[in-house]
Symmetry: C2
Subunit: 468 residues, 2 copies
């Protein structure tokens, strides 16, 4: 550890999950693997050394000593945008009527109950659930920084360190997007749970984020919570912080029409216009949701190469609407996916949801093909998290592998030629049998090798929050 006190009691430090040069060579033999083409390749050996893929050979039989991955092997999925603690709301936030804003009140009530120990336990279980579903890299959009009422922890990054430790125990790589949150809305002081999110000013945020980035093994990017929570001048300073470090910069953006209306009323500009004015758009940046965009907004994001993250399952659940995915993609925005509010944790449903939403909106099929959807969920998601080589089964990539069984009823009868479409349009987390992260087996036979009883861990962690 550098520049920060040791972790809180109950928050252990785990092994690194970055590829490690000393890891010995290992080979994985896949019955089928997706190597980027329209169809899967048969008989694929993935040669791994130091946690990184060294070579991929096809068409051969299983080398002596190679570990066998039956079924179809894909690159690990990237969960580009996660709020781990929202998992405690699953099933509990579906009663009564309301909208995004009433849901937010329920989310705040869970945020109020977090402690570093509770958040560690919950995030460990949630990241393990993600690993079981095939996610190997997670971008945590982390905004619960402080104690109740905004009280600072001894280490102001105690919550962030709890998340880092949780990810290490669950054996997913974490990118912590340290989120700046300053106000309740334009010119309005934070209230209630928001005190836990808020730094006093952007300088305090920058100091804290800088400290967090010095923690051993931490991969830290910047996040502007939204133009609701960060005024334009502060947004500019966050963008500067990220630019000076060549760090990632993510921001929630135009998820709700009311957010646009508020920005227009307060600043006379849309959220994208404000973020563009603050120097926050560009190829290291990711706009999260981007559901309600003007034509000019879409052009600004696309032409600047700003990434756009979507979560069809959350955007359905919260009644956000359908964002202009195909349009943004055509304009130049790389798209990425993930589980956001954890309404479900299912990379397959996210992939097909992206295309299904386009079909509902356009009444045409084939807006994104299966290869584009897989690339979005893997390589593009990794790039949105700063892993330029990740998310593909090829030399130089971290050896993240996800294997789905072809023996379940859902994929039965889908012949070799159509396995890629089958995986995208008909598979689910229950089909995932094996997950390898940076060369090391993390899930085998559908079981998490480190956390063991993931359901039990979720139950304990959520009960501690909901029935404290």
């Amino acid at each position: 550890m550098t520049g920060a006190p040791p972790p809180a009691p109950g928050v252990p430090a785990g092994p690194s999950l970055m590829p490690v040069s000393t890891d010995p060579p290992v080979e994985y033999y896949c019955d089928y693997a997706w190597l980027g083409a329209e169809t899967a390749a048969a008989g694929v050996t993935v040669h791994v050394h130091g946690g990184t893929i060294q070579a991929v050979s096809t068409g051969g039989s299983r080398p002596h000593g190679a570990r066998h991955l039956a079924g179809l092997t894909l690159p690990g999925f990237a969960n580009t945008h996660s709020h781990a603690f929202h998992r405690a709301l699953r099933g509990r936030a579906q009663r009564g009527q309301g909208n995004f804003w009433t849901w937010r009140e329920m989310m705040y009530s869970v945020a109020e109950l977090l402690t570093p120990e509770r958040y560690f336990a919950l995030a460990r279980a949630v990241y393990a659930e993600m690993a079981l579903a095939g996610f190997t890299v997670v971008g945590e959009f982390h905004y619960v920084h402080h104690g109740p009422g905004g009280a600072r922890y001894g280490d102001p990054n105690e919550m962030g360190r709890a998340l880092l430790a949780a990810a290490q125990e669950a054996a997913v790589r974490l990118v912590l997007l340290d989120t700046c949150y300053l106000e309740a809305g334009p010119g309005r002081a934070v209230e209630g749970a928001q005190h836990r999110f808020a730094d006093r000013d952007v300088d305090e945020w920058a100091e804290r984020a800088t400290q967090l980035a010095r923690v051993d093994g931490a991969v830290v990017g910047a996040a502007i919570h939204s133009v609701r929570a960060v005024p334009p001048a502060a947004a500019r300073l966050v963008a500067d912080w990220a630019r000076q470090r060549s760090a990632l910069l993510h921001f929630h953006c135009s998820e709700q029409a009311a957010e646009n209306e508020e920005a227009l009323a307060a600043y006379g500009a849309t959220p994208v216009e404000l973020l563009d004015g603050a120097g926050a758009v560009g190829p290291r940046s990711v706009a999260v949701h981007a559901t309600h965009l003007s034509d000019a907004d879409a052009k600004t994001l696309g032409e600047s190469g700003t990434g756009v993250y979507m979560c069809p399952t959350t955007e359905r659940d919260l009644g956000d609407g359908i964002g202009p995915a195909r349009r943004l993609f055509a304009l130049g925005s790389p798209l990425s996916l993930g589980s956001d509010s954890q309404a479900v944790v299912d990379p397959f449903e996210e992939m097909r949801g992206l295309e299904m939403n386009e079909r509902l909106a356009s009444r045409r099929r084939g807006n994104f093909n299966a290869v584009q959807l897989l690339e979005t969920a893997t390589a593009a998601g990794c790039r949105a998290l700063g892993e330029r080589a990740g998310g593909r089964l090829g030399p130089g990539a971290p050896a993240d592998l996800v294997t789905i069984s072809l023996d379940g009823p859902g994929l039965a009868g889908i012949t070799e030629d159509f396995l890629v479409e089958g995986a995208v349009f008909a598979a689910g987390p229950g089909d995932v049998t094996d997950v390898v992260v940076a060369g090391r087996p993390v899930v085998a036979g559908g079981r998490h090798l480190l956390v063991g009883d993931v359901a039990g861990a979720l139950r304990l962690a959520i009960n501690a929050l909901t029935q404290p």
Copy 2:
């Protein structure tokens, strides 16, 4: 068998799955069961005799000799609208661009390859997949009646009898909706695969359907394929046939905007106006999809008590659009759900899809609550298939029970109070452990007790069609 020759070779006759008065008493003890309220009841004993629920008692401990159903037990799901053979298209119809109509060409190419033996094998496997997912009653909208080029089989209902036999082997109750199909479009002769669907005229259809209804154990309703395929005068005769027998009457209706345009051009009326004019709407009728309705159409369906079936997963997949579910429900149309094109077989995704589509369209949450969604997928679906007492855990209902495990990561941490929401918003077919149909165990430990290797059966049946 009455009034019809014996089944073709390779098409066995199975045991009846209707409740049978001679079946001995049996008790099932459920850790939790949904009895219709907002929350699940704990410690529920379901007393079954003759395949029918005699009584339900709550709060007690497990009676001596009662079979234990761990987790949450729900009534069996009703799959109100199925085309079993579309299952062969799963994963194979996702390449390239197109729309509903180009998908239809691919569907026709599979229809061309069906034989009674192949259809029996495929439907048996597909109905078994449905049972594994929790469907206990299936409405098969059956339109592939004849041989290649329209050649009549020795028994003109050989295909229908293959489906009945398949359902019996897979242990789901089948309602065969014998579908009238006469033309390719207003005044246009059938072509290609449509020859296999088409009777020469409505009298030939009526004769065939009348014969099919006489088959021992067959439950037969009428279907008008659509106003595309059945002209108004013939639709009236199909509606008359159904009315005279108090039989069900289902029809595809306004799934695509082009269907409305064609009807308006040919007849000066919308599909609903045509079907209303033919006497086809009313409480024994179900409009399938009803995606693109005028205000007057919606009123006609709602005020006449006509049921409306929706399949959110198919309507997404085919780019149909989002139908006015909440509006139709408010106007008086009972809604029902099912797997239609078998893009997926997942009653949970259909339930939440209905609500999620409303959220996407209205940007509000809580349009249907979990209880309404469960009722839609169970009791309302049963009523749409003529089973007035079905789809509930109460005295007089067929003893159809579906148990989901609470031990998987998806539902972990959802406490007792929220199990109903958890089931609807976060469960999947992989969570189903036990299924009881008319009192008899059909699925246990996630395994089909009669078909055994469902995935293997699907593989064989689909390979026979796609690689013949």
